[in-house]
């Protein structure tokens, strides 16, 4: 049974002078444990698709099942809980909170779960160690390099042990060495069973995915599985 099932998703941004159709009929199933890379030209709708999968954006039309639940109809409160417990985000521009330390930023990933997790501190430490940031717990984001910031963001995404991690151009702002290291961490995560979807422009990264989806003009142009 697929973890994510999208059928005939359309999305149009209103709120601008001209309505922009960003997605025009996307259907896709993603199984647990898959590593999907989304590629395509700028403006083709990659980020939009990822945001819809992450429930940050509600599709204008179409059906979206997450773990067999129709997320287009459930209330906002439950969506928030879904994000808090099942989904992790990594952004191109890191999106850390400036006035919180590395430790506090990572802990935010547990804050909204509402289940009284024991060993909160251990979980945060573990996530920090996993991305190699254990020694920087008390630093502020601006005291870190880009690569370190992104590792911190990944730790925040995975600290709650989500079923799926969504990463929108996670290496877009990093040099090649840091990019490779970041992808390595994500890949390691996927090896341990976490579903991973990344948007990327680097074909070298797409090659490592189990499946590559190419977007074009709001539609899926090509979907290819790597034979392993």
């Amino acid at each position: 049974m697929p973890l994510i099932s999208l059928s005939d998703i359309h999305h149009t941004y209103s709120g601008t002078a001209q309505a922009v159709p960003a997605l025009r009929g996307v259907s896709i199933d993603i199984d647990p444990g898959e590593f999907v890379a989304i590629i395509g030209p700028s403006g083709s709708g990659k980020s939009t698709l990822l945001n819809i999968i992450g429930t940050l954006e509600k599709p204008s039309q179409g059906r979206y099942l997450f773990d067999n639940r129709d997320v287009t109809t459930i209330p906002e409160r439950d969506l928030a809980r879904l994000r808090a417990t099942r989904i992790g985000f990594v952004f191109q521009n890191f999106n850390l909170i400036d006035h919180l330390t590395v430790y506090q930023n990572i802990e935010l990933g547990l804050r909204y779960r509402r289940d009284h997790l024991r060993g909160r501190r251990e979980l945060v430490m573990e996530a920090m160690d996993r991305v190699g940031m254990g020694h920087r717990a008390d630093h502020l984001p601006r005291q870190l390099s880009g690569g370190q910031q992104q590792r911190c963001a990944i730790a925040r995404a995975i600290v709650g042990q989500p079923a799926i991690v969504l990463a929108d151009e996670p290496t877009g702002n990093l040099d090649s060495r840091n990019a490779a290291q970041t992808l390595g961490i994500l890949k390691e995560l996927n090896d341990k069973g976490t579903t991973l979807i990344i948007v990327t422009h680097a074909l070298s990264q797409a090659d490592q995915a189990s499946r590559t989806i190419e977007m074009h003009d709001g539609r899926i142009h090509l979907s290819s599985r790597r034979l392993s």
Partner: protein, 792 residues
């Protein structure tokens, strides 16, 4: 949605987003300018008392002090009528001196017939009180006996027309009076409370009577004087006591001293017995000015913050302009120019608002404020204020934003600064709330709890001057349906013309007390229980020895009795009164409040001389008061043959009139407090808009991490808690200090209450959080998380 509709929606949203801030700016400034204009008019009105008279600053009013030589216990605006003549003959520096004596006598024309309040006046009075005339010659108007000068308003009342020179009316015993001049209507801010001046030359006038009887020396006349240029008024003042002693005849007390008060200072001079209108209080005026300045400052700070937030939003625009070659001064000019426009629009709106509100305000506060009385000065002051506010509030954002570093994104309003902003707002609101509550409590105390008697449902009726009619009337009143109890008295509680007296018990110091005469049922009418002894046994007209008196608890203490019971049966001698009357204490009363709370409650005596009874007090049943009043009116007409209109009033109305100034202060203050609260709401809303913009990304991150709207809500409220605490920590001691000194201006006052402080704290916190919460709730759904996360 059709493309056109979505286009329109888009335009609407941008306009609101963009203009919402401008709307807040204009609303806040308009409100505070309007408040500042009203307060300025009010303060100006208070400070220009009597200045409508030409050369008012050259005029002095004579006042007298009574009491033991070392202590002026009672100050009186009225002085012995003889003083005017003695000053004229003995003081070389005098230019003019003249008297007026206030009286109520019947006055009658074809249109109007009342017991009129007017002045007997010396003919030269208008040489001193230079009232503007519209008809006739004031220099000669009162020379002939039987001449009268009145305002246009009075002329209309008596004759139906303002130009009444030559027309006649009659007074007591059908004495004819001829109008010789018409005055312009008096403004509300004068110490004069009557609008008719009758020549004191007539043989029936009180002034003539005083002049014929050199021993009629008591506090009867208001005496005004002007001095020759270069005269040393203080030196004259020092000689007056000796002059009055050298001429004094008759049995009454000689004043212990005299004071000459400049007419323009009179309104803020401490209370004087027999003052024609309640005095003002400089402290309250000062507080009002300070609070208004604070409100303007607050509006300026709000405006400053909004301008800063708004221009930072346009940081790119500034950078581009710079790239195009704009100098820093150009950018500063641009921001200042925009600030000036916003201020100008606001002040014009404020003028329109005030223009519309003034009639209601004047009616509600019994004022006579006018926007355009001195247009040039007014516009000048207003213009200067606008420029000042613009420059002070525009300069900071102008410099901050045009700073060379601004385009690198470091020009943010720091967290410290916006917290300071919240603290200032809330602290002021808390001080005003505490102040408002305390003022209202003091008002409540003054007009109710402090009285120690129950004046509700008491009607007071002034006697006609026909003793037989009055006796009939009172007798019939007692049997009237709806009348619960009836008692005659000399004055009434809080009436200012109680008679001062000085007494002593052997071996003890002289004490001053007020003396009143009443029917025994007086205490039933005002529901005053006896503390000890018995009531008066009746009234009597011939002074037998010794008459009965009741004294109050203060008198028990001042006279040195250990207990109220110890005073019973004791005799008292009015030592300084040359009549050397003796009285026996038969009962003790609680401390009734006869004077306002501006004066301490003091020792008091009630005797039962019927000779002094001038008023009948009637307690009527609370049900069907209108019916009872109608029956009383009908009874009056019957017993007085319809010739004399009745003068009656509720005690409550009389009391409220005594506290007219306090009431005015309280209303103006409440108004200003309300404005401050609205202003803070606007300021906080502006701050919320600003913070929401700034925190959009952070909040979006939290949303992506699974925070619910509820979580976000809490997240946005928490930063306000510490500033709210600090604001209260600052406001409490400030309010405590200011209010303690305000309450200190009353001889008797309530203690400051913890309820005011806690209430203000709770109100301010709830109010601030509600404002923030309302803004959060209104905007929460509109923010697109994914859009906020896209860029930095």
């Amino acid at each position: 949605m059709t493309p056109l509709l979505s286009l329109l929606l888009y335009i609407f949203r941008t306009v609101v987003a963009r203009w919402g801030v401008y709307l807040l700016m204009v609303a806040g400034l308009t409100l505070s300018y309007a408040a500042a204009i009203v307060v300025t008019l009010y303060v100006h009105d208070e400070l220009t008392h009597d200045r409508f008279m030409a050369q008012a600053d050259r005029v002095y009013m004579l006042t007298a002090r009574y009491g033991p030589p070392d202590r002026g216990l009672v100050a009186s605006d009225r002085t012995p009528a003889g003083m005017a003549k003695w000053m004229a003959s003995d003081v070389a520096e005098i230019d003019q001196v003249a008297r007026i004596v206030a009286i109520e006598w019947p006055m009658r024309s074809a249109r109007r017939q009342v017991r009129e309040r007017f002045y007997w006046a010396d003919p030269n009075i208008f040489k001193i009180l230079q009232l503007p005339a519209v008809e006739g010659d004031l220099a000669t108007a009162l020379k002939a006996p039987g001449s009268v000068v009145m305002t246009q308003r009075m002329a209309r009342a008596y004759f139906g027309r303002p130009d009444a020179v030559g027309l006649t009316l009659t007074t007591k015993d059908n004495q004819p009076l001829t109008v010789t001049a018409i005055l312009k209507d008096l403004p509300a801010n004068t110490h004069l409370d009557r609008e008719i001046f009758v020549s004191g030359r007539g043989s029936y006038s009180m002034l003539a009577v005083f002049d014929l009887n050199p021993d009629y020396q008591w506090n009867s006349a208001y005496i005004y004087a002007t001095f020759k240029p270069g005269a040393d008024v203080a030196a004259v003042e020092g000689r007056l006591q000796a002059i009055s002693r050298s001429h004094w005849r008759g049995p009454n007390n000689l004043p212990e001293g005299y004071e000459l008060i400049r007419l323009t200072d009179l309104h803020f001079h401490p209370h004087g017995d027999g003052e024609q209108r309640p005095r003002g209080h400089v402290g309250s005026i000062l507080a009002l000015v300070v609070v208004t300045a604070a409100i303007l400052a607050l509006a300026g700070i709000n405006f400053s913050g909004l301008v800063l937030a708004e221009t930072q939003e346009r940081g790119d625009e500034m950078a581009i302009r710079k790239a195009l070659g704009a100098r820093r001064i150009d950018l500063i000019w641009q921001i200042l120019r925009e600030a000036l426009w916003v201020n100008l629009v606001s002040v014009v709106l404020a003028l329109a608002v005030v223009e519309r509100l003034l009639p209601a305000l004047n009616g509600g506060l019994d004022l006579d404020l006018h926007l355009w009385r001195h247009p040039a000065v007014f516009l000048g002051v207003l213009g200067a204020t606008v420029v000042l506010v613009t420059v002070l509030s525009g300069l900071y954002p102008a410099f901050a934003v045009s700073r060379p570093a601004a385009n690198t994104g470091t020009g943010r309003l720091s967290a410290l600064r916006w917290r300071g902003w919240v603290v200032a707002q809330i602290a002021l609101v808390v001080v005003l709330l505490i102040g408002s509550h305390t003022m209202n409590r003091q008002w409540q105390y003054a007009t109710d709890d402090a009285l120690n008697f129950n004046g509700d449902h008491v009607v007071m009726i002034r006697f006609s001057d026909f003793p037989n009619d009055d006796a009939d009337f009172v007798a019939h009143l007692r049997d009237l349906k709806g009348v619960e109890s009836v008692a005659e008295s000399f004055g009434s509680p809080t009436m200012d013309n109680v008679r001062p007296a000085w007494i002593r018990r052997p071996g003890l110091p002289l004490i001053s007390l007020t003396r009143n005469s009443a029917h025994p049922d007086f205490f039933k009418v005002f529901q005053v229980p006896l503390v000890a002894g018995r009531h008066l046994s009746g009234t009597f007209s011939v002074p037998e020895v010794p008459p009965e008196i009741l004294i109050n608890l203060s008198a028990v203490k001042a006279l040195g009795f250990a207990t109220p019971e110890a005073a019973l049966g004791q005799e008292i001698v009015y030592e300084t009164d040359r009549t050397t009357m003796r009285s026996r204490i038969v009962g003790v009363l609680p401390d009734l409040r006869f004077a306002t709370v501006y004066e301490p409650k003091g020792p008091m005596i009630f005797d039962n001389f019927s000779k002094y009874l001038t008023v009948v007090n009637v307690r009527i049943s609370p049900t069907d008061t209108a019916g009872t009043l109608a029956r009383i009116d009908a009874l009056w007409s019957r017993d007085n043959g319809g010739s004399m209109p009745m003068q009656r009033w509720f005690y409550r109305d009389y009391l409220l009139d005594q506290y007219h100034d306090l009431h005015q202060q309280m209303r103006v203050f409440n108004l200003v407090a309300g404005v401050a609260i609205i202003l803070s709401t606007l300021g906080l809303t502006g701050l919320c808009i600003f913070l929401t913009r700034r925190q959009a990304r952070d909040l979006a991150i939290l949303r992506a991490l699974g925070a619910t709207f509820g979580d976000i809500f809490v997240q946005r409220l928490t930063p306000f808690f510490v500033p709210l605490l600090i604001a209260n920590a600052i406001a409490w001691p400030a309010a405590w200090l200011v209010l303690r000194s305000w309450l200190g201006s009353f001889a008797e006052h309530i203690p400051l209450s913890a309820v005011s402080f806690l209430g203000a704290a709770v109100t301010s916190v709830v109010f601030a959080l509600l404002t923030v919460a309302a803004h959060s709730a209104l905007t929460a759904g509109k923010v697109s998380v994914s859009a906020s996360l896209r860029h930095e």
